[in-house]
């Protein structure tokens, strides 16, 4: 009789541990999803600023058609991007296109001094800062989530339970964020 009780006890313990571990994976996945939506909000905001920026520059430099096209295409590519990796690549392309647009604007002092343009420039810088902040958060949540589903014992069942590894938001050539190790001095 005794071994039966021990067996039952072990089974209950196993189920309990399994439930706790499963909940942890769900929590980590949710955190990563929230992290991604934070990035998405900022990318959206950046995308919304671009038509205004193009219009502002076009008012002064209508003949620079190639640059406008480049920026518009890059923006469309970003909005089409399906995965975090693609979005990061498209975002990179957009950044350099915007850089060229600003280089064009350099030649028009009146444009550069206009309040509308200055505000757009300020807002764009702000969104870029926010994208990189949101990216730091998202990438660290992805790292924790991926580590969890790739370590024992979840590595065997994670896929069957629908936990798939997530992609970092980083353009090709970027490196994953380093883990900060920390020991208190006391």
């Amino acid at each position: 009789m005794l071994w039966l009780w021990i067996l039952v006890g072990l089974l209950v313990l196993l189920v309990l541990l399994g439930a706790l571990g499963y909940n942890r994976l769900v929590r980590l996945r949710n955190e990563a999803d929230t992290g991604w939506s934070n990035i998405d909000v900022q990318l959206q905001r950046r995308g919304d600023l671009i038509p205004n920026l193009v219009e502002a520059v076009r008012g002064y430099a209508a003949h620079e058609r190639r640059v406008f096209e480049e920026v518009t295409n890059a923006r469309a590519a970003l909005q089409r991007a399906g995965t975090p990796g693609q979005a990061a690549d498209a975002n990179e392309v957009l950044t350099s296109a915007i850089g060229r647009l600003f280089a064009v604007a350099e030649a028009y002092p009146e444009l550069k001094a206009s309040e509308n343009f200055l505000r757009l420039q300020d807002d764009l810088t702000d969104t870029e800062d926010k994208i990189s902040a949101a990216r730091r958060y998202y990438n660290s949540t992805v790292m924790h989530y991926n580590t969890a589903i790739q370590s024992l014992p979840w590595v065997f069942v994670a896929k069957a339970l629908g936990f798939r590894a997530k992609e970092f938001f980083s353009a090709e050539g970027d490196t994953a964020p380093p883990e900060v190790s920390f020991t208190p001095a006391t």
């Binding site: 955190e31 929230t34 992290g35 934070n38 900022q42 702000d126 800062d129 926010k130 902040a133 949101a134 730091r136 958060y137 660290s140 949540t141 924790h144 964020p177 380093p178 883990e179 900060v180 190790s181 920390f182 020991t183 208190p184 001095a185 006391t186």
Partner: protein
């Protein structure tokens, strides 16, 4: 040890400490009950509970009053707000904390609030006047880490509990001394135990509160380093605070543990010479130790000289 493990361990400790406080409260109430009157003990416990709840609810405005932090208008200091926004996005906070300004020449900052959504960060005008953007960001990262790690929540609880225990112990002590023979039914030994318990309890509470906040300072430093991916910035900011000798003009000791650097540090270091144990009562670990911890985890050495970058107040257009 990774930061995540440290945060988890710290959260566990927090839970233990909260339960410890509850236990201590029970012991003090019990002592009053045994030494004086059982009903009085129950009343004390009930009163303390209600007082604690009231204090927790009003803590937000209480801290603002004690630190003299002013709310900002909607368009004031926008670059500072943006900086706070960016750091809280990096921390994944559900909402950006409010910023409040303390008009004081000493560079310092604090975080307060029970829940992340209602938390706010207070910075002194002195901080804006000495810190360049990179270091200011690190200090904000430190405060936001306190909010993210639920330190502000725990510290508020700890402060309130410590205050409550001290209050009822004080009342009990007075009653024991001046209460007359009517209520002393437990005999001399119980009375003695009660006195010892009543005298020690507030100190136990205070000690717990202090050690709690000291450990959390290291964690918030590391948190800031991780958020900004720049451990050196936090180290530089601490060095700058170390070299600055201004202290907060209006330093209320009951909120000392909230600030990034102890607002009364000069007083404390003078006392250290007299009483060897006094470092146990400090709210903050020495800045040197905190810098050393950052250097070790980040694998860098701070340069000897501070950067000559313009302070953030220039960008803010502060006079």
């Amino acid at each position: 040890m990774t930061l995540q493990q440290q945060i988890r361990r710290n959260r566990l400790r927090s839970t233990i400490v909260v339960f410890g406080f509850a236990l201590l409260l029970g012991v003090v109430a019990g002592l009053i009950g045994v030494a004086l009157d059982l009903r009085l003990g129950l009343v004390a416990l009930l009163g303390a509970g209600l007082y604690a709840i009231f204090a927790i609810i009003s803590s937000r405005s209480m801290v603002a009053r004690m630190t003299r932090a002013q709310q900002l208008g909607p368009d004031e200091l926008r670059p500072l707000r943006r900086l706070v926004e960016n750091v809280s996005i990096a921390a994944g906070l559900p909402a950006t904390p409010d910023v409040r300004l303390v008009d004081d020449a000493a560079p310092n900052a604090f975080a307060a609030g029970v829940r992340p959504r209602t938390s706010y960060i207070g910075v002194t005008t002195g901080l804006l006047r000495v810190m360049p953007k990179r270091e200011l960001e690190a200090v904000l990262g430190h405060e936001i880490s306190h909010i993210r790690n639920r330190d502000t929540y725990l510290m508020t609880m700890a402060t309130v509990f410590a205050g409550v225990i001290a209050l009822i112990a004080d009342i009990g002590f007075r009653m024991l001394l001046f209460g007359g023979g009517r209520s002393r039914r437990g005999g001399a030994l119980v009375a003695l135990l009660a006195v010892v318990g009543l005298v020690l309890a507030p100190y136990a509470a205070l000690l717990l509160r202090m050690s709690l906040s000291r450990r959390r300072e290291f964690l918030a430093d590391a948190g800031s380093a991780e958020l900004l991916n720049d451990p050196e910035a936090m180290g530089l900011a601490l060095r700058r605070l170390q070299l600055d000798t201004t202290t907060i003009a209006y330093a209320d000791t009951s909120v000392a543990h909230l600030w990034v650097e102890s607002p009364t540090s000069r007083v404390e270091s003078e006392r250290r010479g007299v009483l060897a144990l006094s470092s146990w009562f400090d709210t903050h670990p020495p800045l040197e130790q905190r810098i050393a911890a950052l250097e070790e985890s980040g694998g860098f050495r701070l340069p000897d000289r501070l950067s000559a970058d313009a302070p953030f107040s220039v960008e803010l257009g502060l006079a």
